[in-house]
């Protein structure tokens, strides 16, 4: 016990008074040496001799000091403090190197912090406040499409399917349905289109969420069929729109409903939504009833709800999945009873499946998710290159510092102390890099996050412990990666007992590791740049791709009726008024009705072609109907035959224009014009093909089995939504205000007009390529710059170190081109090997991103040779400056410097 006390007392003293104890120790040893010298001079030795012998007898002073410190027992902590102190001093002495290294690591860590936050939210993190996410699943319905015979996965279900699944109460504690859509909220001029989540009352019980004010809506308010028009506001919407005042009991117009506000959702509550932060939550029944009337609860043809379930704790996932599988098949049978067009569950191979709450991990993940994951990998490579570069810089410096290391070793400092100190230095650099990286990610990543995560309540990197933990790990790994080489070099310097303090004399340089690091950088850059160029070319293909219509000059004009009840005739009259009014707006060239709008809404019907079995297995056929100016408005070209015109009226023989692809698919090797087919049922009159139009992309940019046929509006029996399309001179985006102002005057009641350039519908389809291209190029360029700087500094360093040798060679008469060639060859070899290795790696990896590319072969030789050429050029440039410096070495100066 007393020993323990004494030990503790001693250690505390050592900890807090370590420096004083060192001084004391020095004093003590000094005293010892002096007495020893005195003794020896008395015995007759000369003063100098005595001093030498005393020191020899005593042994290495520094070693003794370290040992004594170790004996004190707190050395690890104390050494760390000392090393930190030393590291900071040594880094401060070389500000250029320090800043370069910190920025390099900062960029590397910053891009990773940004991408980690995104990928974490996409793939791993459950929505905020979700209770026990492990038991919550999204519901999917994998099946073969009856029309196309292709496998697909449904995620949106009809209301009666929700009711069918909700009946499965034994495996599931909760079954909830929801959908988020943009709806007009407010009155008149104040109408704002905001994300509105329409949800079942059960939805809220999935979350550990307590309303900030009031309450959530109840089962009774979400009762079939009519529900109650109540609303819960999102916290941010409440703050921004109502300034946080008491609004419970007030009414709010949402789309066509007048809702009573009953509660405010808690802050940061977004539900399951991945389509924006909801401003308002509404009961499904109230919304569906207002939109579709009392027949919606049995309507299987309106698939619009996403389903979420929580299994009971006592039920395994397998059993839950079996139950949902069974329920889905049952519900499909109900759908078939409602509309035979669904086909039987057997022939469609219908199943029910559960998927994780993270949409991106489910079977219906968007290409953006994949792109994000790849870019996350790219970010890691950038960090690797940064680490290789920094490791190289530190290694070069370590070689330059061998003298210092050897000196300290000779003074008795032990191996682990010296290696440890080198490692601490690189860790300090990595920590500084981490700080810079967090700052970069904090300010620079907001745009990235908004792009990938529309429903993200951005708290930045600093407010996100998971990202900060990730950064901490990245810092330690980067510190070790960059420090291990130099530390080993220092340790070896000591082991080899090298007292050759002058590093210039050390002929046998350990260049192997450094060459490897130098090769690694162009190799990794090669991989990244190949990816970048593939995405850039994809993007260009997408942009150049003819969609079958013009995008820029076309605007969509839609009327939201919001409850103004119009009969067929009144609605037809309204659209005619809209057409007429839009035509009078200056700059508007053509206007037309349209039944299907690209990437917005489309209609399909079964087709019956004489002599062709099950036409619908050939592809997806999209019905389009328009007024005579339709083709001129869209800019769609007629390839052969004629477009429909004013002579194709009600009662005249039915006519149809088909797309080129459709003509080829349905009537291969035959002239399609003059052929006829029936639309919707095999009892209607046959429509005769009068013209062939170019192919049009309506649902997907990449699906070549997507066909369109065009009917004159006069002969189309379906109703038109009050949407018209207008073609303007110049860009549609410049006309949104004037179109809207002119058409708003035609609106009845509370109806309002929205104008959207077609561009805004098409652009999101290009996002994954746009984003892939932008980020790959940004990261690839970053990697290239870092690699080039690495190569440059390395070659510059080698030339500087070989100054003497070069001087001798020049003095011996080596010609300038020869010297130049020598240096260039060394740099060139490294780049060449790197490019070859990277090229092979890229060849292996590239096919895996094939499905993210657009009409771009992943192993495109143009891309590979192009990137290799760029890298070779950069390599030569990076080597050229040091090489030229080598030729200007003055032999006199070089030799005298010795």
């Amino acid at each position: 016990m007393r020993r323990l006390l004494s030990e503790v007392r001693y250690r505390l003293r050592a900890l807090f008074r370590g420096r004083a104890m060192d001084t004391e120790l020095n004093e003590e040893m000094q005293f010892h040496l002096e007495r020893e010298i005195e003794k020896r001079t008395r015995a007759g030795a000369s003063r100098a001799e005595a001093e030498r012998m005393a020191r020899a007898h005593f042994g290495a002073v520094e070693g003794t000091r370290d040992e004594a410190r170790d004996a004190r027992g707190i050395s690890v902590l104390e050494h760390l403090g000392r090393d930190l102190h030393l590291a900071v001093r040594s880094l401060r002495n070389r500000p250029a190197l320090t800043i370069g290294v910190v920025l390099t690591l900062g960029l590397g860590i910053g891009v990773n912090a940004a991408m980690f936050g995104i990928i974490d939210r996409l793939l791993f993190r459950p929505p905020p406040m979700l209770d026990d996410p492990g038991t919550v699943f999204r519901v999917y319905r994998p099946r073969l499409s009856v029309d196309e015979g292709e496998p697909r996965v449904d995620r949106n279900f009809a209301f009666p399917t929700f009711l069918d699944i909700a009946r499965l109460t034994s495996p599931f504690e909760t079954v909830a349905a929801f959908q988020t859509r943009r709806l007009g909220v407010g009155e008149g001029e104040d109408v704002l289109e905001v994300p509105v989540t329409v949800a079942s009352a059960s939805y809220f019980s999935l979350f550990r969420a307590v309303p900030a004010r009031g309450r959530f809506f109840t089962q009774a308010e979400d009762a079939v069929p009519q529900g109650t028009q109540v609303a819960v506001l999102g916290y941010d919407f409440w703050q921004n729109r109502f300034g946080g005042q008491d609004v419970i009991g007030r009414t709010l117009r949402v789309d066509r409903m007048i809702c009573t506000i009953v509660g405010i959702a808690p802050r940061h509550f977004v539900g399951m939504s991945d389509q924006g932060v909801p401003a308002v939550f509404l009961p499904i029944t109230a919304y569906a009833y207002a939109l579709r009337g009392q027949r919606y609860p049995g309507n299987f043809n309106w698939s619009w709800l996403e389903l979420v379930v929580r299994r009971r704790a006592s039920v395994s996932r397998e059993i839950a999945e079996a139950a949902v599988d069974n329920g889905m098949i049952q519900s499909y049978r109900n759908a078939q009873a409602f509309d035979p067009g669904w086909g039987t569950p057997e022939e469609n191979r219908v199943h029910g499946a559960l998927g994780p709450v993270q949409l991106a991990r489910g079977p219906d993940a968007s290409p953006e998710t994949k792109t994000a994951t790849w870019i996350g990998g790219v970010a890691l490579i950038v960090l690797l290159i940064a680490c290789a570069n920094v490791a190289n810089l530190l290694l070069s410096r370590a070689v330059g510092r061998r003298g210092e290391v050897a000196m300290r070793a000779a003074l008795g400092a032990n191996r682990s102390r010296i290696a440890g100190q080198v490692l601490v230095e690189s860790l300090v650099l990595a920590v500084l890099g981490g700080v810079v990286g967090v700052a970069l990610a904090q300010w620079g990543a907001a745009g990235l996050r908004a792009w990938f995560l529309p429903a993200d309540l951005d708290v930045g990197v600093l407010g996100d412990p998971r990202t900060l933990a990730f950064v901490a790990i990245a810092v330690v790994v980067a510190g070790l990666l960059t420090g291990i080489g130099p530390a080993m070099d220092a340790a070896r310097t000591i082991t080899s007992g090298s007292l050759r303090i002058d590093a210039r004399h050390e002929r046998r340089e350990r260049t192997g590791l450094r060459s490897l690091l130098l090769v690694l950088q162009p190799a990794l850059s090669m991989v990244l740049l190949v990816g970048a160029l593939l995405f850039v070319r994809s993007l260009r293909h997408v942009r150049d791709y003819r969609l079958g219509y013009d995008v820029d000059p076309v605007a969509l004009v839609a009327a939201s009726l919001r409850g103004a009840q119009l009969n067929q005739a009144a609605q037809r009259e309204l659209t005619q008024r809209m057409l007429d009014a839009a035509g009078t707006v200056p700059g508007v060239r053509y206007v037309s009705l349209a039944a299907s709008i690209p990437f917005w809404s489309n209609e399909g019907r079964r087709l019956y072609v004489p002599g062709v079995d099950s036409v619908n297995r050939l592809g997806r056929f999209i019905l389009q109907a328009g007024t005579p100016d339709y083709f001129r408005t869209m800019g769609t070209r007629i390839i052969r035959g004629r477009p429909f015109d004013a002579t194709d009226r009600v009662g005249s023989p039915p006519v149809v224009v088909v797309s080129e692809g459709m003509a080829r698919a349905v009537w291969p090797d035959q002239e399609a014009i003059g052929k006829c087919f029936r639309i919707g049922s095999d009892t209607v009159p046959c429509s005769t093909v009068i013209g062939i139009a170019e192919d049009m992309r309506v649902r997907s940019l990449t699906d070549s089995r997507e066909f369109t046929y065009y009917l004159p509006a006069a002969q189309y029996d379906g109703g038109f939504d009050p949407i018209i399309i207008a073609r303007v001179d110049g860009k549609a985006a410049d006309y949104t205000t004037s179109l809207r102002a002119r058409l708003q005057t035609e609106m009845p009641g509370a109806a309002y007009v929205t104008v959207a350039p077609l561009q805004t519908l098409v652009n999101p389809r290009m996002r994954s390529w746009e984003f892939g291209a932008t980020l790959f190029v940004a990261f690839g360029a970053l990697a290239l710059i870092v690699a080039a700087v690495g190569l440059y500094s390395m070659m510059a360093y080698e030339v500087a170190r070989r100054t003497r040798e070069l001087g001798v060679r020049i003095a011996m008469g080596a010609s300038v081109p020869r010297i130049l060639r020598g240096v260039l060859a060394r740099g060139g070899r490294l780049v060449l090997v790197g490019v070859l290795l990277g090229g092979v790696a890229a060849l292996v990896i590239a096919p895996r991103i094939q499905d993210l590319l657009f009409q771009q072969p992943a192993r495109d030789p143009v891309v590979f040779f192009g990137v290799a050429g760029v890298l070779a050029l950069v390599g030569v440039l990076a080597t050229l400056i040091p090489a030229l410096r080598a030729t200007r070495v003055d032999p006199n100066v070089a030799l005298r410097a010795e």
Binding site: R2, R3, L5, S6, E7, Y10, R11, A14, E24, L25, E27, E28, M29, F31, H32, R35, E36, K39, H57, F58, G59, A60, V61, G63, T64, E67, A68, D70, A71, R72, G73
Partner: protein, 109 residues
Amino acid sequence: MSGQLDLPQGTLDLLILKTLSLEPMHGWAISERLHQISEATLVIPQGSLYPALHRLERKGWIDAEWGSSENNRRTKTYHLTGSGRRQLAAERAAWRTLTRTVELVLDTR
């Protein structure tokens, strides 16, 4: 240096404790005393003396205080503590046992 012995591992602590049991003294004096008593047979690696002293101090077997020497230099003087005395007795006994045993083995025919 014929006739000189290297110190067996671990015995330095014992010797220091024994030396200090005679009277408190400073580091150099300890090394001198050991040298004399052993009739110049033992080579005390002087460099390892100080780590050993610090180790013993940490264990609480010896304690130290700063004073001044004959010619008025500041010196650190070590002395044995109570537990150091007990430790010395214990180690001494252990050493005796050890040497006796080793001799016994060596003398066996």
